[in-house]
């Protein structure tokens, strides 16, 4: 393949051109369709988003040429238009109304089929399906594909789990920034009573998208860390099904595009939960939201499937269940949830879409439907999924703590079992989200007790961390990953302690739908995911690149983010206890929340600044020299026993497990030993 003439400069030029062309096109379409032009918020939102799409396309085109993601996005646009037109033609032939001006020219059913068809077209365009098409035709393919040289390999289909892990992580960080940006926008609105910069519809859409984009971002971030680490930790060359792995990543990209498109297609006003009956009446954006999550769900399901098979089939010699790295236990536990429960949110969203486009009254009480059914199906996934968010993070805490305090992990078996325990108990607690929903009252108390039961295995983890820290050799100058680990423990403790008041029926009836809940889950998400995620990025960055992130900037990042974050959530809980409702754009000035809300907005901006410092740190470090190719953290884990960065198929020699994984501080003890005469045959 000829290397296309591409450069960063070209990318920026194309980016700006795309933005301008998109804006002009958006305005032209609007004028053509509605015969008016009313720029509501500085510019029109739909045109602006079209500009974003085109500019991203232009940016990638400038960077990598007509390859990979660029091809995929172009295919997606064409595929969407094709399938939408096809449905329109069928409607026209069947004598139905072919167009609908209220839902952006095409009818809603055409948009939904277009969205699904466009996602498949993306996958075909990017090349994630090509080997499977060959298999279906009875042709053979190569077991391993060779990646392109340089950064271009990250923009197209690669079967290397490390490349896919980095693709996942970077996509996750992009979505994290997008979701965070939405929060920053609507935090301005909340900083004072009254409506300042937006109407309630936009507020609701931004707030709902903040929630769901963060959730997708977390799911992708977790997949990224798991994908990158697990095969290395267990001594495998790759995941069990590399093509499925690539598919799982790439299917999330059109899903993210669909989610963002919901903002341009009328938005939605239900928040991220999408409860009917409101969601059956919301604008077209609601359907894009549902289809986007439905498509993203396949990423989770297939990724989990792949991981379970990988861990059960590809472990190194002698790596028995209780010699697995603790992070792998956490990954397995989360995968059990995502493999099975994800189907339920897919089903619940699917039912609403069918009610919207075909009028099937699943959730319409007037015709015998039941909106509570949606909540049961929805929370059967959406509660366990919060354990999907936190378990890998808690696994990272347990994984890193012994490295830094040079002591064995306290109660290894208990910690391993507690991950599994949280995952399994997590299946039995969903209805605690519905205490105030009008479900059968006899369900309340059993779900209260099952929810409180989750505190037991979670407590086991805390005792293990505290006991591991006890008499440990805490370094005088704490390295950044350990700072984030410690921050994670503290913040997650806060999130954990504010959980039982929401699980107990009597107190929950007061706290339901207040900012107390918002504060609680931001604490759990930050403590259970964001802090450990950053810890893992700082910790394994040298493994991926051979370069260590700047410690000084890392400390700035931590010490700016943590206090701001604590202010944010503690103030949230305070105003919540005093009666501040969640999901609303405005509040009564007589409640006197001005100061608290303004402080929260400022804190949110400080957190954003901290994340920008992190991104600057990454950019500076990547451009710098390779200075950390060895065992930077003096870890016992197998991936640190070989030089960084790892070659394409991981280990040149297979290793076998000869000891316990976390015996730090014990003289002469080893976890793994490389088998010199047993060379791995690549390809």
């Amino acid at each position: 393949m000829n290397k296309p003439k591409t450069s960063f400069k070209k990318a920026v030029v194309f980016y700006l051109a795309g933005q301008v062309i998109g804006l002009i096109f958006g305005v032209l379409i609007q004028v053509m369709v509605t015969n008016t032009f009313e720029p509501k918020y500085f510019w029109d939102l739909a045109s602006w988003l079209l500009g974003v799409l085109l500019s991203l396309l232009g940016f990638f085109y400038g960077l990598v040429g007509y390859y990979g993601i660029v091809k995929g996005l172009i295919y997606q646009v064409i595929g969407t238009l094709f399938f939408a037109s096809l449905t329109t033609a069928i409607r026209w032939m069947a004598g139905m109304e072919p167009f609908d001006m209220n839902t952006f020219i095409f009818t809603e059913s055409a948009w939904v089929t277009g969205a699904l068809g466009g996602s498949i077209a993306f996958l075909a365009g990017v090349g994630a399906l090509s080997d499977w098409f060959k298999w279906a035709k009875g042709e053979k393919t190569e077991d391993h594909r060779h990646d392109l040289k340089g950064y271009i390999k990250y923009f197209g289909v690669s079967l290397d789990h490390k490349v896919i892990g980095i693709q996942y992580t970077v996509t996750s960080l992009l979505l994290l920034s997008t979701g965070g940006l939405f929060a920053l926008i609507f935090r301005i609105e909340l900083s004072a009573p009254g409506l300042q910069i937006m109407d309630t519809q936009i507020y609701n859409s931004l707030m709902g998208l903040h929630g769901i984009i963060m959730i997708v971002s977390i799911l992708l971030g977790i997949s990224g860390v798991i994908n990158y680490l697990v095969p290395m930790l267990i001594g495998a060359q790759d995941m069990a099904f590399p093509r499925l792995n690539a598919f799982s990543f790439w299917v999330a990209v059109p899903a993210a595009v669909l989610l963002l498109s919901s903002l341009a297609l009328g938005g939605f006003d239900t928040g991220w939960t999408g409860y009917p009956p409101l969601s059956t009446r919301a604008p077209l954006g609601m359907s894009m939201f549902f289809v986007g999550i439905w498509v993203a769900g396949w990423s989770s399901i297939l990724g989990a499937l792949n991981l379970i098979v990988t861990v059960l089939r590809l472990r190194a010699k002698n790596m028995t269940a209780f010699k697995l790295p603790i992070f792998v236990w956490a990954a397995i536990s989360t995968s059990i949830i995502t493999l099975t429960a994800t189907q339920m949110i897919g089903l619940s969203f699917q039912l609403v879409v069918f009610e919207r486009i075909l009028g099937m009254p699943f959730f319409d009480p007037a015709k015998g439907g039941n909106p509570i059914l949606f909540q049961h199906l929805f929370w059967f996934y959406s509660h366990p999924v919060v354990y999907v968010f936190i378990l890998p993070g808690l696994g990272i805490i347990s994984e890193l703590l012994p490295v830094f305090v040079r002591k064995p992990l306290f109660g290894y078996k208990w910690v391993a079992m507690s991950s599994l325990g949280i995952a399994l108990v997590g299946f039995l607690v969903w209805a605690h989200h519905m205490f105030a929903s009008g479900m059968n009252e006899y369900l309340r108390v059993p779900f209260m007790y099952s929810t409180l039961l989750v505190a037991v295995p979670t407590g086991v983890k805390f005792f293990s961390w505290v006991a591991t820290l006890y008499q440990g050799k805490i370094p005088r100058e704490i390295p950044t990953p350990m700072l984030f680990v410690m921050g994670g423990i503290v913040v997650f403790l806060l999130g954990g302690l504010t959980g039982p008041p929401n699980a107990t029926v009597s107190t929950d009836l007061h706290l339901t739908d207040t900012y107390f809940i918002v504060g609680h889950f931001h604490d759990t998400m930050f403590g259970g995911y964001i802090f450990p995620f950053f810890a893992s990025l700082y910790y394994w960055f040298p493994k991926a690149t051979g370069k260590k992130l700047n410690e000084r900037l890392g400390k700035w990042h931590f010490w700016l983010m943590t206090p701001s974050f604590l202010i944010l959530t503690l103030f949230m809980m305070r105003v919540g206890l005093l009666g501040m409702r969640r999901r609303i754009a405005d509040y009564d000035p007589l409640l006197q929340f001005d100061f608290w809300q303004l402080s929260m907005t400022i804190s949110a901006y400080l957190i954003a600044t901290a994340v920008i410092i992190f991104i600057i740190n990454v950019i500076i470090t990547v451009r710098g020299p390779q200075n950390a190719t060895g065992n930077v953290w003096r870890s016992r884990s197998p991936e640190w026993q070989v030089p960084s960065p790892m070659p394409a198929h991981n280990y040149d020699h297979q290793f076998q497990v000869v000891g316990e994984p976390y015996d730090y501080g014990l003289e002469g003890s080893k976890y793994v030993e490389f088998m010199v005469d047993d060379e791995v045959k690549n390809g």
Binding site: N306, A341, M360, F362
Partner: protein
Amino acid sequence: MAEHHENVNGKLNQGLIIFILLAFLTFIEYMIAITNQSLLLLSVVAVIKASMVLYYYMHIYKLGEMNDELPHSSLEWKTSTNRFGFWLFILSDAFLFAGLLTARFNLLGYTRPDLEQFLGLIVTSVLLVSSFFMNRAETQMKAGNVKDFLVSASITTLLGIGFLAGVVGVEWQHAPFKVDDSAMSAVFFMMTGMHAFHVLTGVIFLLIVINNARKGVYTADNYWPVEAATVYWHFVDVVWIFFYPAIYLIGRLV
């Protein structure tokens, strides 16, 4: 060689016996439904039928045959890994259908739609017979008999298309309600529609496998895609084993 041949015949006979038992149990199911309507008995029969298909047709016990000592490049290791992954997919898909059953019992409770019982029994039988031929096809492929495999698999495919025609072409047109009439109509069309979608994907899967078998891609030792198509087809049958009573038999008419 003679022994091998006998073994194949034994397997084919076993498939036939299981088929007869399943047909008998379906008949019993129907009789229970028109006589005393016991939910417990109907559930027990459905579970027995499903277990028989899982064991004798889907060979779920093969999951236990994973050997970690084999080299990872060997065909046996690859097949058993593929099989494990495929069963995890089946498990995930089963949750979708469990969700649909939950929705059915949540919304309709102990009532059922007024459908043509005779038609229901016919499409159920068609699917059951297709399962029998699918089992035959796999057994013949295992014996390396590609010609017989092609015949049996083609019959299976035709029966699958027949099932689709019966549900979508006849049952949907004869249903006493339209899609948007009530929660009952919604549940009926959603359950049968989702199942029919899976039958359709199964038919496509079978057509791909038949085409490749015709080209001679598979041999007696190397036929994992055939096994996957078989397991998928029987899984769709297992779903119908639960859906048939849930849609046609359980509950009283309203």
